[in-house]
């Protein structure tokens, strides 16, 4: 039995902001079925009472002193952006109308 359908691949790709053609989705479907077939070996492992481990590092929530420090210049960061307007990064219109 398959793990996920072609439609599901299109839906998940959309969640990740990727747009696949039908042939790309079909190729990905074959690859993911093979990968998930291997990943299924995890399903038979007895994991009763085992806590999940998201990181091998024991320390968490370390904070550094809340002190002002030098940061990159605004102009340096704006220079990296594909499109800018004044001191802003610009993107296509999100709201309808004149937008005030």
């Amino acid at each position: 039995m398959g793990h996920l359908s072609i439609e599901e691949i299109h839906r998940v790709a959309g969640l990740a902001k990727l747009k696949l053609t039908d042939s790309e989705a079909a190729a990905l479907h074959g690859d993911l079925e093979a990968i998930l077939g291997h990943i299924d070996t995890l399903q038979s492992v007895d994991l009763d009472g085992i806590e999940p481990m998201s990181s091998p590092l024991e320390h968490t929530n370390r904070v550094r002193p809340d002190e002002p420090a030098a940061a990159l210049e605004q102009s340096t960061l704006l220079d990296l952006a594909p499109a800018t307007e004044g001191a802003f990064v610009s993107v296509p219109r999100v709201l309808e109308g004149d937008g005030g």
Partner: protein, 484 residues
């Protein structure tokens, strides 16, 4: 007078004034010019900035100042580690034209230590791959056989050191991307414990497993580079606060217990791989180590566990590449969603898209518990199994890969490619450290190819692993073999 070859010897000679950083750099640039057209290790060689750095080192020496412990040592940098003022593409179209505004912590420390950055090396896109065939800028060949892969994802860095172009190159290792290419190219590659080298300025793929580490000819050189890069950094809250011990570069292995996992010396391996592990065990025993048989059952689950956790973290981390603040934006977009989708779909290659979709799916409602949370529990099993072993042995010895370098183009299906990392991924899952060292060669289709073994040590046991690798190299000559 001939110039020194190793990083340690170069630094000593430059510091004492017996040679200049400029002379060492010119030799490196000449070697790259002679060799790299056949190998393709470098995406970019920055002769002018490198010459300025070498001159600065020589000026410091001439004025009686301290030029640093790596004075004049030429270093190549994997194209996913930020160097201020230099392009960085991660082997991806999505970062076309990007120039980093800052240095990674590791780079900052190497510059202070007097190292000379010569250029960027090619890698699989966003460090996802085991062959360096999946790079938007072009693939890299293995210096031992030009129709074979150098391994990956840090294949350019490994090939650059193996071909003698540079004495040191930086790679990154999320599932074996330093150790596997080191083994396939016949050099030393060190993957530090999680948290040992700060990740600030290393492009995140899977931050719970990503580490920067060195490629070198010898473990002694790797230790010298690690002493400079290791240490806590306030900009990376996951960096380790415990300092790295100095690596003691003498002695033997008396009193050391080294375990060999019986599951890893098996018929699935190329016979020369099992032979290399056997030879390394005999060499270690002759140096005073006790070799013990151990079992690592949970490591069989490594690839399955890794290909849930890695893609899950990648799908989240690669969300930042959206065509808004940096990198490539698609042309003639109709609206914001179209801009995101087309920038990302056109910008990412097939393997990266595959992992993003897989990672998004295992994190999505309905599948999180069955896949992601289950993989995190298996991660604890693998972690605990290593911890139990390291309560009784100092180090583990085993193969780095199951076979020597494969031919370009033969690993067409993703699962076969993923299984190349079966012996390396568990170190990243568990956060432990490991060093691959060459230990003999295999004859395959009439060509001689290097074979690597890996020494694994406990979390923050970096100095012990490097010392043992060094002691083994002092007693043997495998690490001195070079491609003809």
């Amino acid at each position: 007078m001939s110039l020194p070859e190793s990083a340690i010897d170069i630094a000593a000679a430059v510091r004492s004034g017996s040679c200049t950083a400029a002379d060492v750099l010119e030799r490196t640039l000449q070697r790259i010019a002679d060799a790299d057209s056949r190998i393709g290790a470098f995406e970019d060689v920055r002769a002018d900035t490198a010459r300025a750095m070498a001159t600065a080192v020589d000026t410091t020496v001439a004025s009686g100042g301290d030029p640093g412990p790596l004075a004049g040592v030429p270093i190549a940098i994997k194209d996913c580690i930020a160097v201020a003022g230099e392009p960085m593409t991660c082997g991806s179209r999505i970062l076309e034209g990007y120039v980093s505004p800052f240095d990674a912590t590791a780079i900052e420390r190497l510059k202070v230590a007097g190292a000379v950055m010569v250029g960027r090396t090619r890698c699989d896109e966003f460090a996802m791959g085991s062959s360096t065939e999946h790079c938007a800028n072009g693939s890299v060949t293995n210096p031992w056989a030009h129709d074979r892969v150098p391994g990956g994802s840090s294949g350019g860095s490994a090939a650059a050191v193996a071909a003698g172009m540079v004495p040191v190159a930086l790679g990154t290792d999320t599932g074996g991307s330093i150790r596997q290419p080191a083994a396939l190219c016949g050099i030393t590659g060190f993957k530090p414990s999680q948290g040992r080298v700060p990740r600030w300025g290393q492009v995140s793929f899977a931050p719970s497993m990503d580490q920067i580490g060195p490629f070198t000819r010898s473990a002694a050189d790797a230790a010298a580079v690690m002493q400079v890069m290791a240490g806590e950094d306030a900009r990376d809250a996951t960096s380790a606060s415990t300092p790295m011990d100095n690596v003691c570069l003498d002695g033997d292995l008396k009193g050391m217990r080294i375990g060999i996992a019986r599951e890893h010396v098996c018929d699935d391996n190329h016979p020369a791989v099992n032979q290399a592990v056997q030879s390394a065990a005999e060499a270690a025993r002759a140096l005073g180590a006790e070799i013990v048989d151990v079992s690592l059952k949970a490591t069989d689950l490594g690839i399955a566990c890794y290909y849930v956790i890695g893609p899950a973290e990648a799908s989240s981390n690669l969300a930042r590449f959206d065509g808004v603040r940096y990198g490539r934006r698609a042309d003639n977009v109709t609206d914001l969603t179209d801009m995101y989708e087309r920038s990302r779909t056109e910008g990412f290659g097939a393997e990266v898209r595959r992992r993003i979709v897989l990672g998004t799916w295992v994190l999505s409602a309905g599948y999180y518990d069955a896949y992601y949370n289950r993989a995190l529990k298996v991660r604890r099993l693998i972690h605990d199994e290593y911890a139990a072993q390291f309560a009784t042995v100092d180090l583990l010895l085993g193969p780095t890969t199951s076979a020597p370098a494969f031919k370009m183009g033969v690993m067409a299906d993703p699962v076969s490619m993923y299984l190349c990392d079966r012996y390396t991924v568990t170190a990243n899952i568990a956060g432990i450290c490991g060093c691959s060292i060459p230990f003999g060669c295999a004859e395959v289709d009439g060509v001689t190819l290097p074979v690597g073994v890996q020494l694994l040590g406990p979390v923050l046991g970096d100095a012990t692993v490097l010392r043992a690798a060094h002691v083994l190299q002092c007693a043997t000559e495998h690490h001195l073999a070079v491609p003809s």
